[in-house]
Symmetry: C2
Subunit: 414 residues, 2 copies
């Protein structure tokens, strides 16, 4: 496969730029007079905790929660595993313990919050008077409603005892420094893990308006909680600050630099592209053809890069996987053009339901598939990208990377 | 509406760059010793004929075929109207007359072929022994088969008496100069109007393979014609040459120049972008946000431009229209961002089923719609872009432009 080595190197650079072990040491706050307490939630939180305690000179203690299977060994910071994307009791217990951990601190103490994607489900604690089951029902109703994620989060934050800045509020007067790995469009820190340590601009009134707008059928307890509007989320947290230590854009820049050194003109389209994977691929193909024919919007040899999360609407029997679906659609559209190669992969190492990060395509992808009796158009219609690339031996497999800055897509035009 | 004037001016520049009256005079061939015969087919052929006879110094005669309602007055060249996209007898008669017109010429004579999109249906003449009805059935079977347009055209060219270079072949030894307005990806001249004056690289054997591949159920006469393989399409036409006088890219460059003069950095993504309109919009939104936040891939103020034809899969009660669907999806995705405006329109003046070229959006599109009690998300789900922009008074209406270089999409980021 053409350029597999260079494309793999670009992916590795993108992942490295988001690895806690590589980036956390550059963002250590000044040592406080008092104690240092670590809290945190997200798919990367265990890896962040391990990296933090390795880089930090001094005593640390604390607790982070991560997804089942995402633990790494730590010496001082406790790691708890919980369920994602549907919260469970383990996450709830961890959230309660975390709130207790930061209570009673003084202004000489420092809380470090290690925040990454997935933290919203992992760190779930119903507001006083509500149960986990009630919150789960609200979640299910929200997911069915068609409400955009921003509106869902307004409701969620107003049913939680820890989201929307409440964790930082609980730590007052201790200082809270959040080290954040972003996986959200625009790197809106209040959206990563539902922002437990960041001010929340939304209100109970807005939460009620959203419930009305989508006609959500909620329990009396939940309705009562929203109506009483006691204990609004904090609009001001003078003790808290947040630092973005890794982001999709930073990883794109790292991958682009590898391409540049290999002689390609990098063209970064966006760090948060969305849309149906197969159509996003068709647009990428159109841009690649423009580069190829007119030297626009960048000259050849060119590396087109993009990040963000596409979606796959499952219609066939395959398991989907947005990066492999993107690549299969791209290959079908380009029809074996002899100077174009590509790679797409999830920086967390897991593309959809398979323990595979992504795959590669090259000029010979379609012809090799057909030689094996595989019809690429049928496989695409069947959402069987993972099956397709497995049979070709062109998967990108690296195991869970324990970080996540969404997808990396690269198209090389020679 | 913000920037409506500038966006309209960009659209006008794109259309002007593809107007026969503006471009044909620059591409006149040298005057021959003998006669000058005009032939032609396409939605722009009447406008091209009128522009040609106005610009040409000397005697001209001939015949062109255009779509019902697309005639313009001419003095010397006859204009015939026929059906599009399903061929009718009028087109068939015109095709037969055109072949007769170019027969018996000498090498001192010059045939000018005025070719534009739509000509494939308008200039339809079944090969000897086949009927129009048989060809119509093949067409219907091809459209249902899922075969890509390139494969459909291989079959069509091998069932035709005029497509695939046969018109130029008939004119030999006269010289044939084709003036072409392209509406196809890559400006492949053999694909515009099925290339009646351009060599055809495909063969009867390939046509038969495509019939087998898609299991097409064809009449005995059609099967017999493909099996006998008499009279292959010409692979060499020493008497013919083709000149691209207008193309999507040329129109994009003209619109980009207007933006540049108004202080915007133009970023042309591609002249032939495809994909489902709402998803193409989401990708454009992602690129616009990248420009806005990181000054990539171009600095602000920036004008993102793209061409080509998207598709709309109708699921709601609206009539679709790929440009208005693109804009509605873009508006919903951008959620009223205060420094982004956009326009999308078909350069032929007709976006889908409405006599409307396209529309505009600005920061206040969503809020104005909601104030009128219109839900943009519902209207998008309903494929009702035309209804949406009609109610807002933000349509772009210019009447049929009598040319076609596909769509023009512009996003301005201030």
């Amino acid at each position: 496969m053409k350029h597999k080595k260079l494309l793999t190197k670009m992916f590795a650079a993108a992942v490295a730029a988001a690895q806690p072990s590589k980036v956390i040491a550059q963002h250590l706050p000044a040592k406080p007079k008092g104690r240092v307490i670590i809290v945190g939630a997200g798919k990367a939180s265990a890896a962040m905790a391990a990296a933090f305690e390795k880089a930090w000179r001094g005593k640390v203690e604390g607790l982070v929660v991560t997804r089942y299977g995402y633990s790494v060994p730590t010496k001082h910071i406790e790691v708890v595993e919980a369920a994602h994307p549907v919260p469970d009791v383990a996450g709830q217990t961890a959230a309660r313990r975390m709130l207790q951990l930061v209570q009673g601190l003084t202004k000489d103490d420092l809380v470090i919050a290690l925040i990454s994607g997935g933290g919203s489900s992992l760190l779930s604690l119903p507001a006083f008077g509500l149960t986990l089951e009630e919150k789960q029902k609200v979640n299910a109703a929200l997911l069915k409603s068609g409400a955009p994620i921003a509106e869902m989060n307004v409701v969620r934050k107003h049913l939680s005892a820890i989201k929307g800045g409440r964790l930082a509020q609980a730590a007052f007067p201790a200082r809270v420094v959040s080290l954040v790995i972003s996986d959200v469009p625009g790197d809106d820190i209040s959206a990563v893990a539902s922002g437990p340590t960041v001010v929340d601009p939304s209100t109970f009134a807005q939460a009620r308006a959203i419930v009305t707008k989508y006609g959500l059928d909620l329990s009396a307890a939940v309705q009562g909680h929203l109506a009483q509007a006691i204990d609004e989320t904090p609009k001001h947290l003078p003790n808290a600050k947040a630092i973005l230590i890794a982001s999709p854009q930073q990883s794109l820049l790292a991958a682009a630099e590898v391409a540049r050194k290999a002689g390609y003109h990098p063209l970064i389209l966006g760090d948060s592209l969305e849309g149906e994977a197969r159509d996003v691929a068709i647009v990428h193909a159109g841009i690649a053809l423009q580069v190829r024919r007119f030297g626009q919007p960048a000259r050849r040899p060119c590396a087109i890069l993009s990040g963000g999360e596409t979606t796959v609407t499952l219609r066939g029997q395959g398991i989907g996987g947005r990066n492999v679906e993107f690549l299969l659609s791209l290959a079908v559209k380009l029809q074996g053009m002899n100077d174009i190669s590509a790679m797409a992969a999830d920086t967390d190492g897991v593309d959809g339901g398979a323990e595979v990060a992504g795959a590669f395509i090259g000029p010979d992808t379609l012809s090799r598939a057909r030689a094996l009796g595989i019809d690429p158009v049928m496989e695409l219609a069947n959402n069987n990208g993972h099956g397709f690339f497995a049979k070709l031996g062109d998967q990108l497999i690296c195991g869970p990377t324990l970080t996540n800055v969404n997808d990396l897509r690269v198209i090389l035009i020679d």
